[in-house]
């Protein structure tokens, strides 16, 4: 299982049955592969649809049905079209239960930088600032390090996406929860020892006595409902 799959599988287990979820472009998009249809998770694409499904078969694409990156998608039964004001009203008004986004850096305050590298990459924030500020839960799904450089740092050096503290950080090594008392190591990836995680993290990280291994199986509706209750 590669790093991406570990992250996507673990994040998928965070999603609640029947909830509204927004997945960022890239790594987060792949999370939906590990969310079975029976969970009735509604994926929002912020360009204007709730109930987004996979890319349709070749030749059945429609130029009016795309995701936020412009890629073709489908509409699942029960889908709804929304304009940009409603779409971001759902995001900013706390109606999106969870958003899954990539990260460049997360720090000991749980603050996220993921939209700009000054002087180098200025793509614009798109909907990222709205999502990180407004979603009920913000899950950062990213590789633990970038070219060997830790991404979980004492203090973000890149411009923040929001002052808001994210809910959870999921990497191919660990699940880390930002709390009032700082970052807490909640889970480690299968076969990964705590020391490896600490070595690859420059932020101070609290390590409880017992750190369980991540479960990476796909949750059934029954399991997901029990976990949400």
């Amino acid at each position: 299982m590669d790093a991406l799959e570990i992250i996507q599988r673990r994040v998928a287990r965070e999603l609640k049955p029947g909830s509204l979820v927004n997945l960022g472009i890239g790594l987060p998009t792949g999370v939906s592969r590990y969310v079975p249809a029976e969970l009735s998770v509604f994926f929002q694409s912020e360009n204007g649809i709730i109930g987004m499904g996979a890319r349709p078969p070749e030749g059945m694409e429609d130029e009016d049905l795309t995701d936020a990156g412009g890629g073709y998608v489908s509409a699942l039964p029960g889908a709804a079209t929304i304009d940009s004001a409603v779409s971001f009203g759902l995001i900013r008004g706390g109606h999106v239960e969870a958003t899954v986004l990539g990260g460049l850096e997360v720090d000991e305050n749980g603050q996220l930088a993921n939209w700009v590298v000054p002087g180098k990459m200025v793509p614009g924030m798109g909907g990222a600032m709205d999502l990180v500020t407004g979603a009920r839960r913000v899950i950062v799904a990213m590789q633990h390090t970038a070219r060997g450089r830790p991404k979980i740092v004492p203090k973000c050096t890149l411009p923040l996406t929001s002052l808001r503290r994210v809910t959870l950080i999921v990497t191919e090594l660990a699940v880390i929860e930002p709390t009032d008392d700082g970052l807490v190591l909640r889970e480690r990836a299968p076969g990964i020892v705590v020391d490896t995680i600490v070595e690859n993290t420059t932020a101070k990280i609290h390590v409880p006595e017992y750190v369980p291994e991540m479960v990476l199986s796909v949750r059934t509706l029954e399991e997901a409902s029990a976990a949400a209750a």
Binding site: L20, S40, F42, G78, A80, G89, R92, G93, H95, G134
Partner: protein, 216 residues
């Protein structure tokens, strides 16, 4: 999938003293069966946000008539003498707000905004004691977001995902209130199978709705 419950079961969910946003405009587009169930259950002390006080014993007026409302936040009570009487008797507090301001205040709550900057009512007695914010030398009246514990709304169709459609002037405040409450209970005229309402016809996405009321 959303549970379809009886109006009585809906009333059981709603405690005395709750803040209710109730859809409708002079009773048109009001969830009458939920209102009736609240009256029958003898609930009390509601704060009700709505367009108007309805007519005596109709629409929101039915709750007023049952002395179930301690505070009413509406734009108009002119067609309900009972509401006027309870206001004068000091039994019910009435907060009047311009219709457009009311719509924006509810929307602001639902959309995560800090409030509304409007010209409406600026400089009138309605603005007394309210904050005025100057922007580039121009004055705007600040009105805070308005949020409810429960939105009690009416729709035309619903599917079991909770997607809603509205019909004609029964639309009014219903879609706005669906965004502005912790729990949304909708009384549709008809519940249809999932997939029957085209995505472009949905006016309130199902993720906003918590409960549907069963057909009578």
């Amino acid at each position: 999938m959303k549970e379809a419950i009886t109006p009585q079961a809906a009333a059981e969910l709603i405690p005395d003293g709750a803040v209710l946003a109730i859809g409708g405009f002079m009773g048109v587009g009001t969830p009458h069966r939920i209102v009736d169930a609240l009256v029958e259950a003898g609930r009390k002390n509601f704060t009700v946000i709505g367009n108007d006080a309805g007519r005596p014993d109709f629409g929101i007026g039915r709750l007023v008539h049952a002395h179930a409302v301690s505070k009413l936040i509406v734009s108009h009570i002119g067609l309900n003498p009972e509401a006027q009487k309870q206001m004068i008797d000091g039994e019910m507090v009435i907060d009047l707000a311009p219709q457009g301001t009311l719509a924006e205040q509810l929307r602001a709550a639902g959309y995560g905004l800090g409030g509304v900057l409007t010209k409406t009512a600026l400089g009138t007695i309605e603005a007394e004691g309210k904050r005025v914010i100057e922007i580039d030398g121009e004055e705007w009246l600040y009105e805070p977001p308005l949020r409810a514990d429960f939105a009690l709304i009416h729709s035309d169709q619903a599917d079991y995902v909770g997607n809603l459609t509205y019909q004609l002037t029964a639309t009014n405040f219903n879609p706005i209130m669906a965004m502005a409450a912790d729990t949304v209970i909708c009384e549709p005229r008809e519940i249809v199978p999932v997939g029957v309402i085209p995505p472009d016809a949905v006016r309130t996405p199902g993720v906003l709705v918590n409960y549907l009321i069963k057909r009578a």
